[in-house]
Symmetry: C2
Subunit: 405 residues, 2 copies
């Protein structure tokens, strides 16, 4: 088999961890596989570099940030290659450029356009283990780019797709994907298998285990992904194409996200083009809007528009929204920061009815008021008061019988 193994920041956090990674790579190689390694920066390094940049610049240029941040993965790839070499195997580091990960020029969140990987293929053919610096690419004009937070996951999946690897293993500090956060629900159960679609919802709803774009990429190219821990040899969670088995389970897990802020534009005169005007302005400022709810108010002449944005963008979004609200003749803008989003996810929802109702009913029974609702084919999300987050997660995990058997 050709296996791509991606090791996250905690997996290469220090020399001991890097040596453990080398041992695991060596073991996989000795079992008769070809191995390609992708590494993140050592845990804490990226934040340290961001901290340095924020000390010299109030609004750091993104091209410079990319050069700065890409250095962390270069360090860990060289150290990991050295550690594997020390075990008597042939290993060689590769930068984003040396792999040929060509991206667009959207610095700090570049998109991969193509991967040549000729040199990596040649290395594999020669029995060498390539150790690739994750998170980074290069533009056509040789500028260094990075792929956004968690971008090493994307590097790994994209490389696995380019190499037509049999498996892409994502090593992290948890055993896999759980029905919910075990810190909140102690008997949360590890899932053996999950569909790309469910994983996408988990990722975008706040579960940190896999970066959203990497799951999209895996789905598109049907890369089999395993999420597992580099701290033990437990089997992990397999992320694959949906199969019949999966549909039998109505709800696979409960996710939550405390990093959202809710904005409401009140009393907007109800005429066409209002939402477009508002959300275009917000999109132009590179703020990602998550949930949107619009209700015509009782008098039928004006409307309230509520939406959520990441907490880090709340000030920026507030400023833009106030400007647009003014222009549209709205009554005012309300900002609410003490909210959380709780979601249930499962491909089984497609074929089972009453799932959303069951969710609302269980929240209501525990006195949890629902502020906003948003649904998709395979998930239901509710915005609630942040203080009820843990309670809501436990109630739903219980209601849908997700606990360890």
């Amino acid at each position: 088999m050709l296996i791509v193994q991606k090791y996250g920041g905690t997996s290469v956090a220090n020399i001991e961890r890097i040596k453990a990674v080398a041992e695991r790579v060596a073991r996989t190689k000795k079992e008769g596989n070809d191995v390609v390694v992708v590494v993140s920066a050592m845990a804490g390094e990226t934040d340290k570099l961001i901290g340095l940049a924020s000390q010299v610049s109030s609004n750091p240029d993104e091209r410079e940030m990319d050069l700065l941040l890409s250095s962390g993965e270069r360090v860990s790839s060289a150290l990991t290659a050295l550690a594997i070499g020390e075990l008597g195997l042939k290993a060689m580091s590769f930068t984003g450029r040396q792999v040929g990960i060509i991206t667009d020029a959207a610095h700090t969140k570049a998109r991969i356009e193509r991967i040549t990987a000729d040199r990596v293929k040649r290395a594999i053919a020669e029995g060498i283990i390539p150790v690739i610096a994750g998170f980074q690419g290069i533009t056509e004009t040789a500028d260094v780019t990075t792929l956004g937070r968690g971008g090493s996951d994307l590097s790994a999946v994209a490389i696995a797709a380019a190499l037509k690897a049999d498996l892409c293993e994502i090593y992290t500090d948890v055993d896999g994907v759980y029905t919910t956060d075990p810190n909140i629900v102690p008997d949360a159960r590890k899932l053996d298998k999950i569909s790309y679609e469910e994983m996408l919802e988990f990722a975008s709803l706040g579960a940190k285990v896999l970066q959203t774009r990497s799951v999209e990429f895996a789905k598109k190219f049907e890369v089999s992904v395993v999420v597992r821990s580099s701290f033990n040899y437990n089997p992990g969670t397999l992320v694959v194409k949906e199969d019949e088995d999966m549909e039998k389970v109505v709800v696979s897990g409960v996710a939550y996200d405390k990093n959202q802020t809710k904005l409401t534009v009140m009393g907007v005169p109800d005429k066409p083009g209002i939402a477009a005007r508002l959300f275009n302005a917000i999109a132009n400022a590179n703020v990602v809007v998550d949930m949107i709810v619009q209700n015509v108010s009782s008098d039928g002449k004006s409307t309230d528009i509520s939406f959520t944005v990441p907490k880090t963008n709340s000030k920026k979004a507030m400023k833009i929204t106030e400007e647009v609200a003014d222009e549209l003749g709205a009554k005012g803008v309300d900002l609410r920061e003490d909210i959380a989003k709780v979601s249930i996810i499962g491909v089984g929802m497609r074929t089972h009815s009453g799932v959303a109702a069951k969710m609302f009913e269980n929240l209501a029974r525990h006195g949890i008021n629902i502020i906003m609702i948003s649904t998709s084919e395979i998930k239901v999300s509710c915005v609630i008061d942040a203080k009820y987050t843990e309670l809501a997660v436990r109630v739903l995990h219980d209601a849908f019988e997700l606990a360890e058997m």
Copy 2:
């Protein structure tokens, strides 16, 4: 004027220092100059990375070391570019590759083959201040290389030559080149001007102020170099082509080097090819031999060969020398580590006689025994017992009247 400013590790050691560098660059720019900045890694970073590598590998692969070490300058170049940008000027970081510093593939001590610098030239023309990561280059096959210890000096001088800059300023933590180490001789005097040849001797005789290869390069391309401090606005020392003025001064300075070890092969049967056999073997192990002295012994049938090597290489050199000595039928090998080399330097020696004699006489008067002597056109070096180093430096500084007037 087009000025290349190189800032060493202590000059970019932390955020405050980086901001001070940005201020100085801005000042130079505002005085009407075009500025190109070259930076080293933040002080301590390179050693930290070497430490990490030595923990994962007993004998780290040099290609991996180069990728590892080159990351330090990438970080400081991005941070410095951000700091300059924060002052309202346009700045842009450049990696070795983006500058087009093409080197051979001798990892960890690569030699520059050519510099394209097209993108840097374009940036200057657009009023942008390029901030270049020093110490690094790239091979024709896109592998990252480094230029050896102090290699950022070489980067700066080579870039100054490629851009036909008017001046190359090397910023460090000392005010310039002194007649000798002010820690040993408090009234050592800062030199206003020094010739390339003298600077070369100073550099190779142990003064840390400029890397030897960078001086060779400056001499070859007649790049005017200024060594000065980034901690004040004192004028520094100008390193230029020898002029008539310089010849009037017999001795410009006294240098010393405690990092040498002396090896002696005793009783080698005197026949042709012996020295070649020995020093070829040592050169093949990449050990640089400094001084060599050979004397036919009293019986005229055998010879003693003494030479010095850097202390870090003494074990390696000893092993090789013992093997060769055995082969040649020598009586034995003697290693002496407690030695130092003290040298006087000056282009005036060419036209003044009796300089060496004056040196020997003064050392003798203070009971300092001379173990080895080596001379060149513009310097005389004596190997002495290490414990007399400071005394010898003071005696010679005095004898040649080098003190502050």
